[in-house]
Protein backbone atom coordinates (compact mmCIF):
# COMPACT_ATOMS: atom_id res chain seq x y z
CA UNK A 1 0.00 0.00 0.00
CA UNK A 2 2.94 2.36 0.64
CA UNK A 3 4.00 2.05 -2.97
CA UNK A 4 0.50 2.94 -4.02
CA UNK A 5 0.61 6.18 -2.05
CA UNK A 6 4.09 7.03 -3.35
CA UNK A 7 3.09 6.58 -6.98
CA UNK A 8 -0.35 8.06 -6.64
CA UNK A 9 0.32 11.67 -7.53
CA UNK A 10 1.60 10.99 -11.04
CA UNK A 11 -1.54 9.02 -11.87
CA UNK A 12 -3.67 11.71 -10.27
CA UNK A 13 -2.04 14.46 -12.35
CA UNK A 14 -2.21 12.32 -15.50
CA UNK A 15 -5.92 11.59 -15.02
CA UNK A 16 -6.85 15.23 -14.46
CA UNK A 17 -4.64 16.59 -17.24
CA UNK A 18 -5.71 14.07 -19.87
CA UNK A 19 -9.39 14.63 -19.01
CA UNK A 20 -9.03 18.38 -19.23
CA UNK A 21 -7.01 18.12 -22.44
CA UNK A 22 -9.73 16.03 -24.08
CA UNK A 23 -12.49 18.37 -22.92
CA UNK A 24 -10.61 21.49 -24.04
CA UNK A 25 -9.72 19.91 -27.40
CA UNK A 26 -13.35 19.08 -28.15
CA UNK A 27 -14.49 22.54 -27.01
CA UNK A 28 -11.89 24.17 -29.25
CA UNK A 29 -12.85 22.07 -32.29
CA UNK A 30 -16.57 22.89 -31.91
CA UNK A 31 -16.01 26.61 -31.38
CA UNK A 32 -13.42 27.02 -34.14
CA UNK A 33 -15.64 25.15 -36.59
CA UNK A 34 -18.65 27.23 -35.53
CA UNK A 35 -16.73 30.44 -36.19
CA UNK A 36 -15.48 29.13 -39.57
CA UNK A 37 -18.96 28.17 -40.76
CA UNK A 38 -20.40 31.50 -39.58
CA UNK A 39 -17.71 33.35 -41.51
CA UNK A 40 -18.38 31.29 -44.64
CA UNK A 41 -22.10 32.04 -44.47
CA UNK A 42 -21.47 35.75 -43.92
CA UNK A 43 -19.11 35.87 -46.90
CA UNK A 44 -21.49 34.05 -49.23
CA UNK A 45 -24.51 36.15 -48.26
CA UNK A 46 -25.71 38.78 -50.80
CA UNK A 47 -24.39 42.22 -49.92
CA UNK A 48 -26.83 45.13 -49.59
CA UNK A 49 -26.80 47.55 -52.54
Amino acid sequence: MEGVILNGREFLIAAWSLSLALLIAYTAVVNIELRRVRRQITRSSPKPP
Binding site: F11, Y26, T27
Partner: protein, 250 residues
Protein backbone atom coordinates in the same frame (compact mmCIF):
# COMPACT_ATOMS: atom_id res chain seq x y z
CA UNK B 1 -29.52 33.39 -32.47
CA UNK B 2 -30.68 36.22 -30.26
CA UNK B 3 -28.42 38.20 -27.95
CA UNK B 4 -30.35 36.85 -24.97
CA UNK B 5 -29.80 33.16 -25.79
CA UNK B 6 -26.15 33.88 -26.63
CA UNK B 7 -25.58 35.36 -23.18
CA UNK B 8 -27.42 32.52 -21.44
CA UNK B 9 -25.39 29.87 -23.22
CA UNK B 10 -22.01 31.41 -22.45
CA UNK B 11 -23.00 32.32 -18.90
CA UNK B 12 -23.66 28.64 -18.29
CA UNK B 13 -20.27 27.67 -19.75
CA UNK B 14 -18.44 30.26 -17.65
CA UNK B 15 -20.33 29.19 -14.52
CA UNK B 16 -19.37 25.58 -15.26
CA UNK B 17 -15.70 26.50 -15.69
CA UNK B 18 -15.66 28.50 -12.43
CA UNK B 19 -17.38 25.72 -10.49
CA UNK B 20 -14.92 23.24 -11.96
CA UNK B 21 -11.95 25.36 -10.80
CA UNK B 22 -13.43 25.60 -7.30
CA UNK B 23 -14.36 21.91 -7.14
CA UNK B 24 -10.91 20.91 -8.40
CA UNK B 25 -9.20 23.14 -5.83
CA UNK B 26 -11.26 21.64 -3.02
CA UNK B 27 -10.74 18.09 -4.29
CA UNK B 28 -7.02 18.37 -5.01
CA UNK B 29 -5.88 20.66 -2.19
CA UNK B 30 -8.41 21.07 0.62
CA UNK B 31 -10.04 17.63 0.96
CA UNK B 32 -8.02 15.10 2.99
CA UNK B 33 -6.36 12.20 1.12
CA UNK B 34 -8.37 9.00 0.96
CA UNK B 35 -7.61 6.69 3.89
CA UNK B 36 -6.42 3.65 1.90
CA UNK B 37 -5.46 5.02 -1.51
CA UNK B 38 -3.80 8.28 -0.50
CA UNK B 39 -3.63 11.09 -3.05
CA UNK B 40 -4.56 8.88 -5.98
CA UNK B 41 -8.02 8.60 -4.43
CA UNK B 42 -8.57 12.24 -5.43
CA UNK B 43 -9.29 11.00 -8.98
CA UNK B 44 -12.72 10.32 -7.46
CA UNK B 45 -13.54 14.04 -7.64
CA UNK B 46 -13.40 14.03 -11.41
CA UNK B 47 -14.13 10.37 -12.19
CA UNK B 48 -17.49 10.10 -10.41
CA UNK B 49 -18.92 13.43 -11.75
CA UNK B 50 -17.74 12.48 -15.25
CA UNK B 51 -19.58 9.15 -14.97
CA UNK B 52 -22.77 10.82 -13.74
CA UNK B 53 -22.81 13.48 -16.44
CA UNK B 54 -21.85 11.05 -19.23
CA UNK B 55 -24.88 8.91 -18.37
CA UNK B 56 -27.10 12.01 -18.05
CA UNK B 57 -25.90 13.23 -21.46
CA UNK B 58 -26.67 9.89 -23.10
CA UNK B 59 -30.09 9.97 -21.42
CA UNK B 60 -30.65 13.38 -23.03
CA UNK B 61 -29.56 11.86 -26.36
CA UNK B 62 -32.07 9.03 -25.85
CA UNK B 63 -34.97 11.45 -25.20
CA UNK B 64 -33.94 13.67 -28.12
CA UNK B 65 -33.68 10.60 -30.39
CA UNK B 66 -37.28 9.70 -29.56
CA UNK B 67 -38.28 13.33 -30.17
CA UNK B 68 -36.41 13.29 -33.48
CA UNK B 69 -38.23 10.16 -34.64
CA UNK B 70 -41.56 11.54 -33.50
CA UNK B 71 -41.29 15.04 -34.98
CA UNK B 72 -38.92 14.29 -37.90
CA UNK B 73 -37.49 17.81 -37.90
CA UNK B 74 -33.83 18.75 -38.36
CA UNK B 75 -33.39 20.73 -35.17
CA UNK B 76 -33.96 17.65 -33.03
CA UNK B 77 -31.16 16.03 -34.99
CA UNK B 78 -28.92 19.05 -34.30
CA UNK B 79 -29.39 18.58 -30.55
CA UNK B 80 -28.90 14.83 -30.94
CA UNK B 81 -25.52 15.44 -32.62
CA UNK B 82 -24.49 17.62 -29.67
CA UNK B 83 -25.60 15.15 -27.02
CA UNK B 84 -23.98 12.19 -28.81
CA UNK B 85 -20.60 13.87 -29.23
CA UNK B 86 -20.53 15.37 -25.74
CA UNK B 87 -21.52 12.04 -24.17
CA UNK B 88 -18.84 10.23 -26.15
CA UNK B 89 -16.13 12.71 -25.08
CA UNK B 90 -17.21 12.34 -21.43
CA UNK B 91 -17.17 8.53 -21.69
CA UNK B 92 -13.68 8.61 -23.21
CA UNK B 93 -12.59 10.82 -20.31
CA UNK B 94 -14.22 8.37 -17.91
CA UNK B 95 -12.31 5.37 -19.27
CA UNK B 96 -9.00 7.25 -19.25
CA UNK B 97 -9.53 8.32 -15.63
CA UNK B 98 -10.63 4.82 -14.64
CA UNK B 99 -7.59 3.17 -16.22
CA UNK B 100 -5.22 5.63 -14.56
CA UNK B 101 -6.90 4.98 -11.23
CA UNK B 102 -6.86 1.20 -11.71
CA UNK B 103 -3.09 0.95 -12.25
CA UNK B 104 -1.95 2.13 -8.79
CA UNK B 105 -4.88 0.55 -6.93
CA UNK B 106 -5.51 -2.74 -8.78
CA UNK B 107 -2.04 -3.09 -10.32
CA UNK B 108 -3.29 -3.09 -13.93
CA UNK B 109 -4.69 -0.47 -16.29
CA UNK B 110 -7.55 -2.67 -17.41
CA UNK B 111 -9.49 -5.72 -16.29
CA UNK B 112 -12.53 -7.26 -17.97
CA UNK B 113 -14.68 -6.38 -15.01
CA UNK B 114 -18.45 -6.00 -15.70
CA UNK B 115 -18.49 -2.24 -14.97
CA UNK B 116 -15.39 -1.57 -17.08
CA UNK B 117 -16.47 -3.85 -19.91
CA UNK B 118 -19.98 -2.40 -20.17
CA UNK B 119 -18.51 1.13 -20.07
CA UNK B 120 -16.13 0.25 -22.90
CA UNK B 121 -19.05 -1.20 -24.88
CA UNK B 122 -20.90 2.08 -24.26
CA UNK B 123 -18.04 4.09 -25.75
CA UNK B 124 -17.71 1.81 -28.77
CA UNK B 125 -21.49 1.80 -29.33
CA UNK B 126 -21.74 5.58 -29.38
CA UNK B 127 -18.61 5.95 -31.52
CA UNK B 128 -20.42 3.61 -33.94
CA UNK B 129 -23.48 5.91 -33.88
CA UNK B 130 -21.24 8.90 -34.65
CA UNK B 131 -19.56 6.94 -37.46
CA UNK B 132 -22.99 6.10 -38.87
CA UNK B 133 -23.83 9.81 -38.94
CA UNK B 134 -20.73 10.46 -41.04
CA UNK B 135 -21.59 7.78 -43.58
CA UNK B 136 -25.16 8.88 -44.31
CA UNK B 137 -25.30 11.99 -46.48
CA UNK B 138 -29.06 12.49 -46.77
CA UNK B 139 -30.00 14.63 -43.72
CA UNK B 140 -33.43 13.12 -43.21
CA UNK B 141 -32.18 9.55 -43.47
CA UNK B 142 -29.24 10.40 -41.20
CA UNK B 143 -31.62 11.79 -38.58
CA UNK B 144 -33.77 8.65 -38.58
CA UNK B 145 -30.90 6.17 -38.63
CA UNK B 146 -28.91 7.91 -35.93
CA UNK B 147 -32.00 8.25 -33.72
CA UNK B 148 -32.69 4.52 -34.03
CA UNK B 149 -29.02 3.70 -33.43
CA UNK B 150 -28.97 5.99 -30.37
CA UNK B 151 -31.98 4.20 -28.87
CA UNK B 152 -30.27 0.84 -29.49
CA UNK B 153 -26.96 2.00 -27.99
CA UNK B 154 -28.75 3.48 -24.99
CA UNK B 155 -29.76 -0.02 -23.87
CA UNK B 156 -26.24 -0.29 -22.43
CA UNK B 157 -26.67 2.74 -20.13
CA UNK B 158 -28.81 1.02 -17.44
CA UNK B 159 -26.56 -2.04 -17.78
CA UNK B 160 -23.51 0.13 -16.99
CA UNK B 161 -25.30 1.71 -14.04
CA UNK B 162 -26.57 -1.51 -12.48
CA UNK B 163 -23.58 -3.71 -13.42
CA UNK B 164 -22.04 -3.32 -9.97
CA UNK B 165 -25.29 -4.53 -8.44
CA UNK B 166 -26.04 -7.37 -10.86
CA UNK B 167 -22.58 -8.96 -11.06
CA UNK B 168 -19.59 -9.56 -8.80
CA UNK B 169 -17.21 -6.75 -9.58
CA UNK B 170 -13.94 -5.17 -8.45
CA UNK B 171 -15.42 -1.74 -8.96
CA UNK B 172 -16.52 0.15 -5.87
CA UNK B 173 -20.20 0.53 -5.08
CA UNK B 174 -22.42 3.50 -6.01
CA UNK B 175 -20.93 6.82 -4.89
CA UNK B 176 -23.78 8.49 -3.03
CA UNK B 177 -23.86 10.88 -0.03
CA UNK B 178 -24.24 7.77 2.15
CA UNK B 179 -21.15 6.01 0.78
CA UNK B 180 -18.63 8.89 0.80
CA UNK B 181 -17.17 10.85 3.71
CA UNK B 182 -18.69 14.25 4.53
CA UNK B 183 -15.52 16.09 3.43
CA UNK B 184 -15.80 14.54 -0.05
CA UNK B 185 -19.36 15.63 -0.75
CA UNK B 186 -18.79 19.30 -1.61
CA UNK B 187 -16.04 18.86 -4.24
CA UNK B 188 -18.01 15.97 -5.76
CA UNK B 189 -21.19 18.05 -6.02
CA UNK B 190 -19.38 21.13 -7.34
CA UNK B 191 -17.64 19.16 -10.07
CA UNK B 192 -20.88 17.36 -10.96
CA UNK B 193 -22.71 20.67 -11.48
CA UNK B 194 -19.66 22.08 -13.28
CA UNK B 195 -19.56 19.22 -15.77
CA UNK B 196 -23.35 19.37 -16.17
CA UNK B 197 -23.21 23.07 -17.12
CA UNK B 198 -20.22 22.50 -19.41
CA UNK B 199 -22.03 19.57 -21.07
CA UNK B 200 -25.15 21.69 -21.68
CA UNK B 201 -22.98 24.46 -23.11
CA UNK B 202 -21.21 22.00 -25.43
CA UNK B 203 -24.49 20.42 -26.58
CA UNK B 204 -25.93 23.85 -27.44
CA UNK B 205 -22.75 24.93 -29.25
CA UNK B 206 -22.64 21.71 -31.25
CA UNK B 207 -26.34 22.01 -32.08
CA UNK B 208 -25.74 25.53 -33.39
CA UNK B 209 -22.88 24.24 -35.51
CA UNK B 210 -25.12 21.57 -37.09
CA UNK B 211 -27.78 24.19 -37.72
CA UNK B 212 -25.32 26.51 -39.47
CA UNK B 213 -23.79 23.66 -41.48
CA UNK B 214 -27.27 22.88 -42.78
CA UNK B 215 -27.81 26.55 -43.56
CA UNK B 216 -24.56 26.68 -45.51
CA UNK B 217 -25.85 23.92 -47.77
CA UNK B 218 -28.96 25.93 -48.65
CA UNK B 219 -27.99 28.92 -50.81
CA UNK B 220 -31.48 30.42 -50.58
CA UNK B 221 -31.10 30.94 -46.82
CA UNK B 222 -30.15 34.24 -45.27
CA UNK B 223 -27.36 34.19 -42.70
CA UNK B 224 -29.35 35.72 -39.89
CA UNK B 225 -29.03 34.38 -36.40
CA UNK B 226 -32.70 33.50 -36.30
CA UNK B 227 -32.52 31.67 -39.63
CA UNK B 228 -34.86 28.77 -40.24
CA UNK B 229 -33.81 25.43 -41.73
CA UNK B 230 -34.86 25.13 -45.35
CA UNK B 231 -33.78 21.59 -46.23
CA UNK B 232 -37.07 20.11 -45.10
CA UNK B 233 -39.85 19.85 -47.61
CA UNK B 234 -43.58 20.49 -47.50
CA UNK B 235 -45.41 21.02 -44.26
CA UNK B 236 -42.47 19.68 -42.26
CA UNK B 237 -40.72 23.03 -42.65
CA UNK B 238 -43.37 24.71 -40.53
CA UNK B 239 -43.17 21.98 -37.95
CA UNK B 240 -39.38 22.24 -37.81
CA UNK B 241 -39.59 25.92 -37.02
CA UNK B 242 -42.04 25.39 -34.22
CA UNK B 243 -40.18 22.48 -32.70
CA UNK B 244 -36.76 24.00 -33.24
CA UNK B 245 -37.64 27.00 -31.12
CA UNK B 246 -38.21 24.73 -28.16
CA UNK B 247 -35.39 22.31 -28.89
CA UNK B 248 -32.62 24.88 -29.21
CA UNK B 249 -33.34 28.48 -28.47
CA UNK B 250 -31.44 29.92 -31.39
Amino acid sequence: MSRKSFAWEHALGILGALLFCLGSYLGLVVAPPEKYMGDVGRILYIHVPTAWIALVTFSVAFVVAIGSLWRRTPRWDDVLAGALETGTVLTAMLLIQGSLWAKPTWGVYWVWDPRLTTSAILLVAFIAVLALRRFVEDPQRRAVWSAVATIMAYVDVPIVYFSIKWWRTMHQTFSTPETVAASMKLPLRLNAFALLFIAIWLIVRRARLSQLQRLRLTPTSTPTDSARPTLVAGDRADRSTAVGESAVSA
